[in-house]
Amino acid sequence: MHHPQVLRSQMRWECHGGQEESKQEQIYVGRSLMGPPTPFTLMPMPGVPITHTQQPYVTGTSVLGLIYEGGVLIAADTAGSYGSTTRFKSVERMKAVSNNTLLGASGEISDFQAITQLLDRLIVADAMWDDGNDLGPLDIHNYLTRVMYNRRNKFDPLWNTLILGGVKNGVKHLGSVSMIGVHYVDNHIATGFGIHLAQPIFREEWKENMTLEEGTRLLEKALLVLFYRDRSAINKIQVANVTEDGVHISQPYALKSEWNLEAFKNPTASAAGSW
């Protein structure tokens, strides 16, 4: 299911959730540990083409998030669309950033992967100070806002809408950053089609201090609506639970959907035609 190359971040944090995967620790030492993160784009060099405003290629659709009594729940499907084709069906669109923060993204998958690499270096550089204080979800949210805004200023955006959730010192945080730097924080958040289809459901049914069970059911309800109505969504989802103690991303699973309707069984029954 997962991308064959095992990433350091995936191993360290997801293991805490008690998954069945191998808990083998693999130390990867490379340039990433050499210092603080560096910007992506290099200075324009003569003769080298300048990349301006892009178009996205492989994209992910909505990401949903909500706060519940124990922390934050974030969910997304695992589809990577290539225009109107569902090209990849096992894409990780959510990644643990640290052991109390999770990042989910819609939009260009390669840009999301670049962002997770950047955050990896950031978290390591921060941990190396070993000063008893680590970056929390709010800090990372602010950092990502600056990253996205600065790329927008250079007319070279990272084509994502990010959802950042986590808990630190008992304070739960759930926020969003768009590709042009628009950012906000709320009790329930959605990106893309989720703004139109999921948020209204959340506004009606979200309440303070929902249990894990209630929160998961609410997310699944919204994801089901998205599966029915968003053509880039697939019925293979992951739900992530972020608490103060750790991040746990579920294995992908399907929702129960209903297709046994008359109109589907015999679509041409009432269609006019000469044959």
Partner: protein, 245 residues
């Protein structure tokens, strides 16, 4: 070797030379701007200033959140309310904060409201050719303790006045404020104060009425209004719910 030196020189002295390289322009679909809506109002009194803004943040025909503050305390006696493109607004607020911190280190005191007004104008004009899409109203107490309101366009043109509104509901609110607050011409004798003759609580009530009215017809204004009142006692904050449709 020579061409390498030339390349280095071109980067230092004329970095724009790099743009003669082929660029890839893919369609015209992306805009660096968005309008996240919202309305800001401020009213200055003889010894107070009231600044208010709604709390709705939108994009296109969707509401992103109903509880986002457009009001920013920059100095002890000065409050900035801004609507427009939220990412630019936030960046502008941080920019002014940083400049204010430096000012405090250098002068061992806070910036006055008129000084901040000039700084804001200069900051906006600095990005005259890639503007902050931010419609600002600055309110506070001037050096004599009288209420002052400064109103701006997106590129820094500004003016001190007794009252102002900016943002998506500006055209709905401004005529109401003119009707209630507009003072006689400055040429009138005996000379009349330019600030509002209203009391502080009357000004707050007027603000509430204007926002309730704007929320009826402007789709980007609604959910709630945040009202900040500055007087010699300090700064206090009130909120009022608005229609959520």
């Amino acid at each position: 070797m020579r061409s390498w030196k030339l390349a280095k020189m071109s980067m230092v002295f004329a970095p724009r030379l790099a743009e003669s390289a082929p660029t890839s322009h893919v369609g015209a679909s992306w805009s660096p701007y968005d309008n996240n809506g919202g309305t800001c109002v401020a009213i200055a009194g003889a010894d107070y200033c009231v600044i208010a803004a709604d709390t709705r943040m939108s994009t296109g025909f969707s509401i992103l959140t109903r509880d986002y503050s457009k009001i920013h305390h920059i100095t002890e006696k000065c409050v900035l309310a801004s609507s427009g493109f939220q990412a630019d607004v936030r960046s502008l607020q941080k920019n002014l904060d940083a400049r204010h911190q430096i000012y405090q280190h250098q002068h061992s005191k806070q910036m006055s409201c008129p000084a901040m007004a000039q700084l804001l104008s200069n900051t906006l004009y600095y990005k005259r050719f890639f503007p902050y899409y931010s419609f600002n109203v600055l309110g506070g107490l001037d050096n004599e303790g009288k209420g002052c309101v400064y109103t701006y366009d997106a590129v820094g043109s500004y003016e001190r006045s007794g009252y102002s509104s900016q943002g998506s509901g500006q055209t709905l609110i401004m005529p109401v404020l003119d009707n209630q607050l507009k003072s006689a011409s400055p040429l009138v004798l005996p000379p009349r104060e330019s600030s509002t003759p209203l009391t502080e609580s009357e000004a707050v009530d007027l603000i509430k009425d204007t926002f309730a009215s704007a929320a009826e017809r402007d789709i980007y204004t609604g959910d709630g209004v945040e009202i900040v009142i500055i007087n010699k006692e300090g700064i206090r904050r009130e909120t009022m719910a608005l229609k959520r449709d």
